[in-house]
């Protein structure tokens, strides 16, 4: 799909929204208004918007613990998502699941529940692709996971089977060169993880995950390939983690220089500048977007804190099995 100015505007808005959500959640944690786990997705915006922009209702995603944009772009409401973070009855997961950290989903929006067991959903994504293929549907599955997750055996089995069966899956490897504090260099003998694709007999591509249009272009190729029955692709997107691994990580293992280098590649700032330079948007329009994002987030927070209710502790009993 050739992107119009309108598309660029929508993409920029998603990116701004994603960035501000992560910042807001971090603040809410610091203020003690939210509890649990949070892995900020500051810096990953271009990976998510570039891969998810244009997905349709036949498509599925398998989210990672990093960033919330894929879920929102699949149609999960921000108020509903955040209410899940707050463990509210009205929220995603009904207040029962660790929405903030890992495991939540909404099959009505084709969001397969994420997992707190990093990497374990890679074979599940393969299976969703198998299901789509057997049902002769046109959907594709986007599976999100990090460079750490790519070192699990599940990565090997999941990618191998997907390639063997030519399944409609795009494996989106969100490479920030760290698995908490363990660097990529310490974890593998490779520098480009996309090279692993060759070992499975599928294309492997590495893109600058801080440039949304580059991500979009390669994602579109991978999605088109998957849809046409040619099989999966491993799409490695290089991005920089702007924060510690989680809000409780002091991030003592990276140097200031490293952080500063990474932050030069700000995906939101870069795309904003491009849009303004190309006159896709005016500065005023950009400010308007920021205002709109803030408003949307504040309204969702207000809803969670003021309108939502706590679940009944006995709700824990509901839905373990199909019969009662």
């Amino acid at each position: 799909m050739k992107l119009s100015h309108e598309d660029h505007k929508k993409m920029l808005y998603w990116m701004i929204l994603g960035r501000r959500i992560e910042e807001k959640i971090t603040l809410l944690f610091k203020e003690g208004r939210m509890r649990g786990h949070h892995h900020p997705g500051v810096g990953i915006e271009a990976v998510h918007v570039g891969t998810c922009y244009g997905l349709g209702k036949d498509d599925y995603i398998v989210p990672s613990h990093r960033g919330k944009l894929p879920e929102l772009m699949m149609g999960v409401g921000l108020d509903y998502l955040l209410a899940g973070y707050y463990n509210r009855r009205e929220g995603l997961g009904g207040g029962r699941v660790p929405t903030g950290s890992h495991m939540y989903g909404d099959m009505s929006k084709h969001v397969i529940p994420g997992s707190g067991i990093i990497g374990s959903l890679i074979p599940v994504a393969t299976g969703a692709g198998l299901g789509i293929k057997l049902k002769k549907e046109r959907g594709v599955v986007l599976a999100f996971f990090g460079d750490g997750g790519a070192n699990r055996g599940d990565f090997h089995e999941g990618l191998n089977m997907a390639a063997a069966f030519k399944l409609p899956v795009v494996f989106v490897l969100q490479n920030n060169s760290y698995s908490i504090s363990v660097s990529l260099r310490q974890s593998t003998g490779l520098t480009r993880l996309s090279k692993r694709a060759e070992g499975y007999g599928m294309p492997g591509v590495t893109v600058d995950g801080c440039r949304v249009l580059e991500v979009y272009e390669e994602a579109q190729k991978a999605i088109a390939r998957a849809r046409s029955g040619k099989g999966p692709t491993l799409l490695e997107c290089m991005w920089h983690r702007w924060t510690g691994h989680s809000i409780s990580d002091a991030d003592v293992y990276r140097t200031d220089k490293e952080r500063a280098e990474g932050e030069k590649r700000c995906p939101v700032g870069t795309f904003k500048k491009e849009c303004i330079a190309k006159k896709t948007i005016t500065k005023r329009e950009y400010e308007e977007m920021e205002r709109r994002a803030k408003e949307e987030i504040e309204e969702a927070v207000r809803y969670c804190e003021k309108e939502c209710t706590d679940p009944d502790p006995a709700d824990v009993l509901r839905g373990v099995y199909s019969q009662g």
Binding site: I117, T126, G127, V141, G158, N160, M161, V320
Partner: protein
């Protein structure tokens, strides 16, 4: 009624359910053409010819991918029957079973079905050694969200598998490999199913209840014959599914007989027999005329030499010893 083997019964159940519902498909290693046409034991024989290789899928040697892919396929609307060639490999797929399959429905607020059957050949007795003989039912029976089925004869195997395939939750269906060709029995000619969570009295008696599943039921029945000769009337109760467990039937039987011996193929410590014994201590203590005894395997790896395996496994003699202790108490 017709007389068929345990293996044929499972094969018939697969045939009938695949015929009935096109969302049902089979996947696993060597299920399409392996060993002369369908699984290393021949359980899936003929399915690929009838339903094609799109519904009888040979997979790579990748248990984690088989298990995980079944979850993905179920979430998008299919009803996979995934074969784990040997139940020993449950150790490999434990993460997928416990952390993904078992929790998907609950995570999705109870609103989404996760209809999967994991079929696996378990059990010892053929000298297959410790990597191809183990009984891990107690591991999976401790996981909320899973169901665990262990049929002991052809009629139950067919009726329970049909129900498992129609069930909307993940079911671990444990087939005892010793029974595949050695156990044959009457099976209704007409369509039937057996509910999960309902045990059956395989032999009625009044002095003692022997509880067991899978291959242990045959041993229990043989022990009951021996006891009969000594004037002891033993009841043999097969829970058939250990999760959910038919506690009511067990209570009813033990309250009647006042004595219980539980036979399990895994080692005694940590087995599901302990769960039944605890339940009886909790809810039937006033009815007990003797200790609740458990008969299980030794706390060692499963030996390969067939004579050593016999020494290791529960036997009719071991059941008789336990029964004697309860009766003489």
């Amino acid at each position: 009624m017709k007389e068929i083997t345990y293996l044929e019964a499972i094969n018939e159940a697969l045939f009938e359910e695949m015929e009935k519902d096109e969302r049902v498909f089979v996947m696993g290693e060597d299920v399409a053409v392996g060993y002369g046409g369908g699984g290393v034991f021949g359980v899936t024989r003929g399915l690929a010819d009838r339903f094609g290789k799109n519904r009888v899928i040979d997979t790579p040697l990748s248990e984690v991918a088989i298990c995980g892919a079944a979850i993905g396929a179920a979430l998008v609307g299919l009803r996979p029957v995934a074969e784990i060639m040997f139940a020993d490999f449950l150790s490999i797929i434990m993460d997928q079973l416990v952390n993904n399959a078992a929790k998907m429905r609950w995570t999705l607020n109870g609103e989404w079905d996760v209809p999967i059957v994991y079929r696996a050949a378990y059990g010892a007795g053929i000298g297959a050694g410790f990597h191809h003989s183990q009984s891990f039912e107690a591991w999976v029976a401790g996981i909320p969200g899973l169901k665990v089925v262990m049929p002991s004869d052809p009629r139950d195997a067919k009726g329970l598998l049909k129900t498992a395939i129609r069930d909307n939750d993940p079911v671990i269906f444990l087939e005892h490999k010793l029974l595949y060709k050695r156990a044959s029995g009457p099976v209704p000619k007409e369509e039937y199913t057996i509910p999960l969570g309902k045990g059956e009295i395989k032999r009625s008696g009044s002095d003692l209840t022997i509880i067991g599943t899978g291959a242990m039921v045959r041993l229990a029945l043989d022990a009951a014959e021996e006891l009969e000769k000594k004037g002891v009337s033993a009841e043999v109760l097969d829970p058939r599914t250990i999760l959910p467990l038919d506690t009511e039937l067990i209570l009813e039987s033990v309250k009647k007989t006042g004595r219980a011996v539980i036979v399990q193929e895994s080692p005694v410590f940590g087995g599901f027999g302990g769960e039944i014994a605890a339940m009886l201590a909790d809810r039937a203590i006033d009815y007990l005329d003797g200790p609740v005894k458990r008969v299980g395997s030794l706390f060692t790896p499963i030996p390969n030499w067939i004579e050593m395996e016999k020494f290791y496994l529960p036997s009719v003699e071991k059941i008789l010893d336990a029964a004697g202790e309860v009766i003489r108490y």
